[in-house]
């Protein structure tokens, strides 16, 4: 059973450019969340997609946008890149359908470097 997969592994961009990161959830999962992790910090929630809609959003500007496809995979887009956007971007998948807390399983991440 393949876990959560992300692509690309690494990415180098320059300020002002745009980037798209991709995620495929764990088999059987229907919800995808994106997190940003700066060096030495815990992951920070960006947003979450369920049924192809953004359901929750963290404290991130509109430069960060996303999409979920019918097969539950997801993309994270970041426009007008800033130096401060350099981080490890993590995708986490979960299954919505339980009243208890939902365990989220993470992919390996995409390391984005903005020069």
């Amino acid at each position: 059973d393949a876990g959560v997969t992300q692509s690309p592994t690494h990415l180098i961009k320059t300020r002002g450019q745009q980037v798209t990161l991709r995620c495929s959830p764990k088999s059987g999962h229907d919800t995808v969340s994106w997190y940003q992790q700066a060096l030495g910090q815990g992951p920070q929630f960006i947003f979450q997609y369920y049924e192809e809609e953004e359901r929750q959003r963290g404290n991130f500007p509109d430069r960060f946008s996303g999409h979920q496809f019918p097969n539950y995979s997801s993309e994270l887009n970041v426009n007008a890149l800033l130096l401060g956007d350099s981080a490890l971007y993590l995708c986490a998948s979960s299954f919505l359908g339980s009243w208890v807390a939902n365990e989220q399983f993470f992919g390996p991440g995409t390391r984005l470097t903005v020069l």
Binding site: P43, Q56, A101, F105, F106
Partner: protein, 115 residues
């Protein structure tokens, strides 16, 4: 405001020297507390979910416990391969809008186990 604080920031142990990591939380309506292990440059690996005070879970040399204000991750007779950053996260409130609630992370404890 929901908040998670982990201590210590870093911990160095000799192989076989047992210790505990602390995760203190302030949250409005805890749905679940999660422990993850993260190796450098990788995504967090799920370890445990705890739902209510008094609950305990074990996996190999790790044991997680939960009270109303904090959680402990006890490491018994650690080995060098246990070296990693251990992250604590909480999921608060109730599911709404068809979404699983976001995870709120602490900054982690960097554990180094020397042979």
């Amino acid at each position: 405001e929901d908040q998670v604080t982990q201590s210590p920031e870093a911990l160095r142990l000799q192989e076989g020297e047992s210790s505990s990591l602390n995760c203190s939380y302030t949250v409005s309506g805890l749905r679940g507390l999660f422990w993850y292990r993260q190796d450098p440059g990788k995504g967090p690996e799920f370890l445990f979910t705890l739902y209510s005070a008094g609950e305990e879970k074990e996996k190999e040399r790790l044991k997680a416990t939960l009270t109303k204000k904090e959680s402990f991750l006890h490491i018994t007779a650690p080995k060098p391969e246990d070296s990693a950053t251990y992250l604590c996260a909480v999921q608060a409130g109730r599911n709404y809008g068809g979404a699983t609630n976001k995870l709120i992370f602490g900054t982690g404890t960097l554990l180094a186990v020397q042979p």
